[in-house]
Amino acid sequence: MVELMLEQEVAGFTYFRRHASSLDLRLLLLVFGSLALVSLIIAAGFAAVGAWLIIPFAGVEIAALGAAACMIVRRAGDFERLAFSGDRILVEVRERGVARRFEFHRGWAQLVTGAKGSVALRSHGREVEIGRFCGEDGRRALVRELRGRLGSKRI
């Protein structure tokens, strides 16, 4: 569930990823509302003629739909941005509404990988995971890109 924008800038390199979001909030509410309304009308109709046991199932289903909608909304604003500017590397991460910002020196930053393919930037005891919004292939592409840039400038 990611969208990638990889820009090659004159001043440096910027990597930006965010969750795909082709559904705006208004449309999401409309979709969820229409599905919930139809399910409830059907369940209420049958309850009116005595078949009330459809209501709990409609309720569970609407709750599941609601949970899916909430996850989409929570993910919608999440992003990850990594920018090279001179000797500085700026990493901005927004996940579940919480934004964090890290700054590394290009000469000291080290790229590290975890056992399950996770990737992080580390320097002076600080570490930030990057490439979380992309799959394995995307992370490998990012590693390729960063490795050259970090390595060539390493002091």
């Binding site: 082709s22 999401l28 599905l35 059907i42 369940a43 049958f46 005595g50 078949a51 590290v112 394995e136």
Partner: protein, 530 residues
Amino acid sequence: MEAVHGHTNDHSHDDHAHKPSGIMRWVQSTNHKDIGTMYLWFSFTMFLVGGVMALIIRSELFQPGLQIVKPEFFNSMTTYHGLIMVFGAIMPAFVGFANWLIPMQIGAPDMAFPRMNNLSFWLLPPAALLLIAAQFMPGGGAGVGWTLYAPLSTQAGPAMDLTIFAVHILGMSSIMGSINIITTILNMRAPGMTMMKMPMFCWTWLITAYLLVAVMPVLAGAVTMTLTDRHFGTHFFNAAGGGDPVLYQHIFWFFGHPEVYIIAIPAFGVISQVIPAFSRKPLFGYASMVYATASIAILSFMVWAHHMYTAGMPVEAQLYFMYATVLIAVPTGVKVFNWVATMWKGSLTFETPMLFALGFLFLFTLGGFTGLVLSIVPVDVQLHDTYYVVAHFHYVMVAGALFSAFAGIYFWLPKWTGRMYNETLGKWHFWLSLVFFNVTFFVQHFLGLAGMPRRIPDYALQFAEFNAISSIGAFGFGLSQLLFLYIVIKTITSGEKAADRQWEGADSLEWTHLPSPAPWHSFETPPVVK
């Protein structure tokens, strides 16, 4: 964590080098292509199980009298043949198509909720095992028909409880699958992939998922009320306790009729991809196809009682349901005429997918016509519960859904496997299926018109000839499907390399933007659709 060293391979090589292997690849997979593959193999396995049940039925009906099985077992076979084919074979087949194709067709890297996708598949095997295990319960399988009508179902043996549990699990799987499909299609489209640029297959699945979300709680409620009537002293469907067995029929068919379209609408989607590709023309009347599909879905909620004209209802209600049912012919006609118009003056070729699509078009239309016949109340009163109805719904389900699934498999097999099937064998499969299907089911119209009731292991001598013909056709049709299995396995193991765009008329993203076979991870960088 460890520092990165060494050379990183190019993208295409990575894709295969890092693909997990072994059984855990399939158990834990969250990859939409793997899960799609599992759905398709599962559905084919269940198709064979349901097919064996059909052959047991047709063996018994080959001659009048009771020769092979006991009546109770025969009833059990008719019940589980229906349940397994509908819930175990056809529905999972189209969910398999959805898993494989929707992300690739909208330019997404995977489904919106990959872990839920894994779970919704892995719920299916336990449900299938429950349906099969029901045969071995004391008293045998529940011989209540796939509709599980009360009061028979409230009085059936313990196999009924397993069946109810299986239906619940299948329903949960469908709900999760539907939520995933809706969120994937709406939220994960690539930049520029507007709703009205989506391939028809995606549209049909979006509408189908809506239908599933609307009706699955109804089915779950119906079987739960059956369960509580059986074990917890409620009287929802027990007339002696103030309940109403006809209420069950209303509830079931409120689910059951949309269920017909839950099966048919994705089939329409497949056909809407195949016919333009082999006509070398865009789909005629794309927007009208979308609106017609939505209209069919909406109307499917308003016609349920045409399945129960003989259950007793006011004449006004019969008239309403008759006219509403006839109305469905309008959007269905729009679709059929659009497919024909797509072919009109096209550069047609007749490879196997196109043959199956044309077979679908001809036979599904025939099934639609017999549906119109049955929608007329006085005719239906005569033909209700006869073999005419059996013939009608097999023309819709087998020639409609199954032929469409075959068309889709032959169409996308080169993209899925990277290998081309044997065209000659594919055509043999089509012609054998077409001929034997009609040998099996066309004669059943005559049996129904002559008054042969359905769901009976024995019959009057006057029906003997047509039943013998039908049984021969059924065995021929069943054996023809083994040829299909051979073709698929041969394609996977030793098929010739397929081109990235095997069909030059195919223009959706999976053909224009991805190699064959489609890489394990695709569209991590979304395409920009112009």
